[in-house]
Symmetry: C2
Subunit: 348 residues, 2 copies
């Protein structure tokens, strides 16, 4: 039933040229007469020729395939990254093989093997492995993405600019009159936490705020983690309005629930600032003001860097993508209604 698919030889025969000439015409090489090229292109259209990428990859070594290994395509942030990578790849006529590793070492290893066997031209990887061995042995051009990539300074990588994110978050808090925000941070084991905290401290010092006196709670990067952290925060002795900078949107949303359960209102009694930019933040009540990571841009930029790696001009540096503030309704504006607070006014 299914007829054999036309090859370049069929096209050449129909055009009355050799397959060499047909190949040159179809691949857009220069050393073909316009007349021959046109005959070949017409013949290709006539027989319905479509290039066989496998054969091309076989012979030339370039498959037109890129790999993407992320923790979970279901996570909105990683979906954005995937979308950006996919769009930029398509712009350059390449296709994307997508894998989810679930933060699992052995799954990651098997995905990397699949990418090698598929002979992809390169891969974009959010590494879950603690050691660099798997990546060292990967044997293909690659670019790392995400904050865990910071552990591998030898590789080219793209991530969000946490320093800048903390700065615009702090700027916004201060502009709304919150001079001494509490913090809800992720687990101590995560590398992003240290960077977040360090930058936060720097900005406190710049503003003559003593970071040591600010309330701080840890939790998992989940709704439940943020919920529990906020409960602990509210249990502390304090006076006046409480402002919280959460290191993750899900935690911020969990914190919001805890505020409501405590009989308090957001933003009237408690202001909350998130970090990530997940879509769910737009549907909470109030909407979550947050510092959004540029997931899509990270994906696009990673592909650009990967093309550099493939072309053999590796940058081998980390690219930091700027974050931006999304203002919704979870921050009260204290700057309008009352005199500027002193640095210590908000603490318990």
């Amino acid at each position: 039933m299914q007829r054999r698919r036309p090859t370049i030889i069929d096209v050449a025969r129909k055009a009355g040229v050799s397959k060499s000439t047909a190949g040159r015409a179809l691949s857009g090489a220069s050393n073909v007469t316009d007349e021959a090229r046109e005959r070949v292109l017409d013949a290709a259209r006539a027989v319905g020729y479509e290039r066989n990428d496998l054969a091309v990859g076989m012979r030339s070594g370039r498959t037109g395939l890129l790999g993407l290994v992320i923790p979970d395509i279901t996570n909105p942030f990683w979906a954005e990254v995937a979308r950006g990578a996919q769009d930029r790849a398509a712009e350059n006529g390449m296709s994307l093989l997508v894998f989810s590793s679930d933060w699992d070492h052995s799954r990651e290893a098997s995905h990397l093997r699949a990418l090698r066997q598929a002979r992809v031209d390169g891969a974009i990887i959010n590494p879950v492995a603690d050691n660099f061995d798997d990546l060292d042995r990967f044997g293909l051009p690659f670019v790392l993405i995400g904050s865990s990539a910071e552990r591998f300074p030898a590789a080219s990588s793209v991530g969000s600019d946490i320093a800048q994110a903390v700065r615009i978050g702090m700027d916004h808090l201060v502009s709304k009159g919150h001079h001494a925000p509490a913090l809800i941070l992720g687990p101590k084991s995560r590398i992003a936490r240290a960077r977040f905290l360090r930058t936060f401290h720097e900005h406190c010092v710049e503003r003559d705020i003593d970071p040591a006196v600010l309330p701080m709670e840890d939790g998992e990067y989940t709704v439940e983690g943020g919920h529990a952290a906020m409960k602990r925060l509210l249990a502390r002795e304090r006076t006046g309005h409480l402002a919280v900078f959460a290191a993750n949107d899900l935690m911020a949303l969990g914190a919001m629930v805890a505020v409501r359960e405590a009989g308090l209102r957001c933003p009237e009694d408690v202001s909350i600032l998130g970090f990530d930019g997940v879509p769910a933040g737009a549907f909470s009540w109030p909407g979550l003001t947050t510092v959004a990571k540029p997931g899509r841009e990270i994906g696009m930029r990673a592909v650009d860097c990967l093309f550099d790696e493939i072309a053999g001009r590796p940058e081998h540096g980390r690219v930091f993508m700027p974050c931006r503030l999304i203002e919704r309704g979870s921050l009260a504006d204290l700057s309008l209604h009352q005199p500027k607070l002193t640095a210590g006014a908000g603490r318990g």
Copy 2:
């Protein structure tokens, strides 16, 4: 720097057998002595051999690649579908090429071409094209997913069971004492709307409810669409508690905002039931009770069907996947506090 990758010939040489025997041993064929197989496998490990999928595809016609064309990987539902497809594909040693069509006809066409050129073994497609021509000419095994696939009854397809979804939604509404819910539906042009409405009517008739008297509003499948529809619904004259069955979670979330803006409370004054199961529904206040589509299962099942198509035993039927109720807090329980309402009590 990069050494040539070992081929099956290197393995054969090291094992002291022909490449035919090496190939048989590596592909798990039966007609090889255990001794030869072991020697080949040892040699493969020793030289670090990894099969070249391109060459396999070239010769055997099977590439181990599957295609997935969905509207937008950034949409949580489609991300779930992609994840399910990806997991089931990986279980069978296959990789997934993912494309987003953005509901655009020409993008879809170009993605389908890319899949053909990559010689994928088959594809899972949510068709955006109004006509069947592109798919007819696709030339590879495929399975359709999503409700728009219903327009192509000749093809194998997988979707959610809207009839069953409406039934469990209605059962839940009735069990909570809401005997005459209002409806917020999608645009009249969408095929899913007609199916939803038809099933809804059937269930009303079964319960001796006259569907013609129930309030009904249309809108786009967006937060804004639901918001506007709810405003129109609230503007109608009515008495007592209002229950709303929205055909889409985003619309339900928009409706929830409209309720709040009208100075009413959910679920005390207005009960809302959604349909989709988007993650954001877990973070709204109150949490959105909804009928969740089994995105992941749809993806997995679509891969199963695709394997059937590839194997040449096409089912050419539509598979309906059951939905399930996720109970959060957006429905009031009227059955406990007041006598059972009559069918007409909730309408305006």
